[in-house]
Symmetry: C2
Subunit: 222 residues, 2 copies
């Protein structure tokens, strides 16, 4: 069975978990605290980051998009890139947008300040960084609402890799109770829709030692 | 003819120029100073970044990897992802490595401090950032040498997207004369090899107003 190195609140690892679950590929989860820079893990991925997927034949895949494209190629059905070449480009543009822009501007700051510093003793939370993440989050929630309103799913009429990337990040941010859902009805409507997916529900049952998410976190109708 | 919005020292735009040239797709280059955040350009790409590729039918592609994968799908030959699914994963891992790690740790700092600040009047160069880029560059040159020595090309025996991504970044860094090539014989050997490609030579003839690259910059044998 393939082994996925991950940690619970890594949005990139959540994204690959979603892809594996959508494609109904069984896998074993292995917790890797990648910030500890374990030498044997650096051998698997010199970038020192989860996710890393080790296949049954021993081949090691690293790099979030490299793994995602590999999964699309090797298990094409069900596809998370369903459409014309241009529609697929839009799915990939948004996947990149969520991983890099939403990731850098919100998720990373949130996890760093709220998890690493408070619970792992990596120093005092920086209130300026928290304010910054909170400001950026509003821009991203507006954009998600704008996309969801026009398109049903974020990159078009079908659930795609772009939705999975957004769920991976939004579910991490929502774990910390940072999203005021009443302010974003279109985004909320989209999130309720995707929460109904079996693959998404497997993520939302995760609990990270010592921190409980808000009550609505895993409720489909919230 | 497709239009590529770019600027001269954007490694991401250079990467797409290399892909277009390898696939012998004619295109028109259009200069976009994306830091000016021109509203009509933000309509094309809300991320506000080059490259953006506008197709003949008016469709707009944004996001570096979204454009690269689109080009692979729509003009499959010659391919820059030639191999098994696992070999392709390694090409994509390294493509991502160069765009994100080499990009963040070296290229962005170099362009920011040496071009934007000195020539575009965006403030004083930060000597700490320059020292940091210089330190990181050594680690990346060692890694490129390590890959080139074992594999001929960076991700395997064939020239791939990963080499194009590395050339896009290395050619920008080399423009500023920051690479002491004598220290990195394996990496130099690889770079001499790829400089012989027609697609790479089209890049190396660029000159950015007011700044001349070092003499070896566009020499094949240096």
């Amino acid at each position: 069975m393939p082994v996925l190195y991950h940690h619970w609140l890594s949005p990139a690892a959540r994204f690959i978990r979603l892809m594996l679950a959508e494609k109904r590929i069984d896998f074993e989860l292995r917790l890797e605290k990648d910030w500890e820079r374990r030498p044997a893990f650096l051998q698997l991925n010199p970038a020192g980051e989860v996710p890393v997927l080790v296949l049954d034949n021993g081949a090691t895949l690293a790099g979030t998009m490299a793994i995602a494209e590999y999964l699309e190629e090797s298990v094409p059905s069900p596809t998370l890139l369903d459409g014309t070449a241009e529609e697929r480009a839009e799915m990939r543009r948004l996947t990149g947008w969520f991983h890099t822009k939403l990731g850098t501007e919100v998720t990373r700051l949130t996890v760093q300040e709220k998890l690493n510093k408070r619970f792992l003793g990596m120093g005092e939370p920086d209130s300026e960084a928290i304010r910054c993440a909170s400001h950026n989050l509003k821009i991203h929630m507006r954009y998600i609402g704008h996309l969801a309103e026009r398109r049903h799913y974020l990159a078009g009429n079908r659930y795609s890799m772009a939705d999975a990337a957004a769920v991976a990040h939004i579910s991490v941010i929502d774990y910390f109770g940072d999203i005021v859902w009443e302010d974003w009805p279109e985004a909320k409507d989209w999130y309720m829709r995707v929460k109904g997916r079996r693959a998404v529900r497997t993520l939302l049952s995760d609990r990270v030692g010592g921190i409980l998410p808000p009550k609505h976190y895993d409720q489909l109708d919230f």
